[in-house]
């Protein structure tokens, strides 16, 4: 069994060609960040109970993630001007089974459709396999969220299951799709990361 590893989260920095990823701290909580979370267009496909986010609720969330050894909440910052444009969560890590889950949110709409998700996901998955020694990453998405479904396919994920009418999204019961990728599959598709 792999022992739960301790990481100095302050020191984790991932560089991608256009972005810098580092763990979100309470100092990163800005009015703009709260704005994304309350923007129905940004959170349209996020399967969670709807509630208005406030500085207090986000601070609690960020602190929880910071203290958890099973979650890595990365902020996505532009390398050009250090602008916070979204987050990516590598979370729910099960150290025994060596499986984690990935999800992301691009809050700044001007970055939609610019390949941000694919670029950062690749690097975070690589981090999960190389540094955290995980062997599988899963990704959950609400049925009908074509952008995320396509992105997961581009990244080499396979559809592993469908939970029928599993969640409530925008007032409707929707299926939740489970995608997964194994370490070998990822490095076969992206040998440059090896």
């Amino acid at each position: 069994m792999l022992k739960r590893r301790k990481f100095d989260k302050d020191k984790i920095i991932i560089y991608t060609p256009r972005f810098l990823l580092r763990i979100v701290k309470t100092a990163d909580i800005t009015p703009r960040y709260i704005e994304w979370l309350n923007d129905l267009e940004v959170t349209k496909f996020i399967v969670k109970r709807r509630k208005k986010e406030t500085v207090e609720s986000v601070t609690k969330y960020v602190n929880e993630k910071w203290c958890s050894s099973n979650d890595f909440l990365f902020g996505i910052f532009t390398r050009e001007d250090n602008r916070h444009i979204g987050n990516i969560l590598l979370g729910k890590i099960d150290w025994y089974h060596r499986v984690g889950e990935i999800s992301n949110l691009i809050g700044e709409k001007e970055y939609w459709g610019k390949g941000v998700g694919v670029e950062i996901d690749k690097f975070v998955i690589h981090f999960a396999f190389r540094d955290l020694l995980l062997r599988k990453i899963i990704f959950r998405v609400a049925s009908g969220h074509r952008a995320s479904i396509f992105k997961s396919r581009q990244l080499g994920f396979s559809l592993e299951g469908r939970l029928r009418k599993h969640a409530v999204l925008n007032g409707k019961f929707v299926d939740v799709l489970y995608f997964g990728i194994l370490k070998d599959e990822f490095y076969t598709l992206f040998p440059d990361f090896k």
Binding site: W112, G113, K114, G115, V118, R146, A147, S148, K151, R162
Partner: protein, 102 residues
Amino acid sequence: MRGYYIFRKKIKKIIKKFIYESFNIGEEKLHDNDPLIHKGIIDSYRIVELTCFLEKTFDITIEDDEIIVDNFYSINSIVEFLSKKMKNIKSDNTHVKEKKIR
């Protein structure tokens, strides 16, 4: 058989027109086998626009498990995917009609 080729040619023309007009390809010449994803012409955002357009134009429903890279790799791949899909719909409808007649 000839009708089938004309049908595919028409589909191709419609798809090309949409891609050129909606995705700002500009003057760049796009070949039918060019990898649309690797060239950055189709990404996870544009796939939403493209699939919605295909559904409206060809009166089809694209399922979650059909949104795979192979189906949208190139213009030819999209034509192939649509042709197969529409062929299946057509044969399904024929089946229904036959049932009704009986």
